[in-house]
Amino acid sequence: MSHIATIKTEIKDLEAVRRACKELGLEFKENQTTCQFWPKEGVAQQQACTHAIGLPVNSCKMELGLLRNASGSYDLVGDELLMKSHTCKDGPFWLKHIMGRETNPLGKDFGRFIQLYGAHKATIEAQRRGWIVRRQEVGGKIQLSVTGM
């Protein structure tokens, strides 16, 4: 019998968050309870969070927040324009300057970050059980092949 399940990723494991941040070149600021972003040009805003993530910036401080919710997992909070932008064409003018690159490394709706979190979390869980994990990326998707059970 083979079994297929579809899962909506929930962010729960801070070690997996750390590894995703490292892979994206982001700074994980554990226990920092405010995060800063820019809802209006020239006007910084602080938002409450449980932990913060610093983005590689050239000229201003931009952060995401991880906010613990009622179920014990974390919601991502951050700049709405950043979240919706994938490339400089559809993003605010400051996107390229903030990230120093042409595309948003976090992905639209922070999808890339969540994807990497999922990959690292699955890897942690498999390796905890002594299983072997092989990872590859194909067509924008991350594939893990787990054996050894």
Partner: protein, 61 residues
Amino acid sequence: MKTIQIVIDETGQIAIEAVGFKGNACVAATAAMEKALGVTKASKKKPEYRTEDKTNISASN
């Protein structure tokens, strides 16, 4: 060979498939992983080719 295939798409949605397990062992193999990763939205079983049945048919012929 028993394998668990995990595919994470660009939105972070995860598909897990356990292959090569007998009976309901596939469900047990992935249950803990599914719970650790998030909320299971959909789940289905696929019957695999049963080598035991084919062996019995050949022996009877």
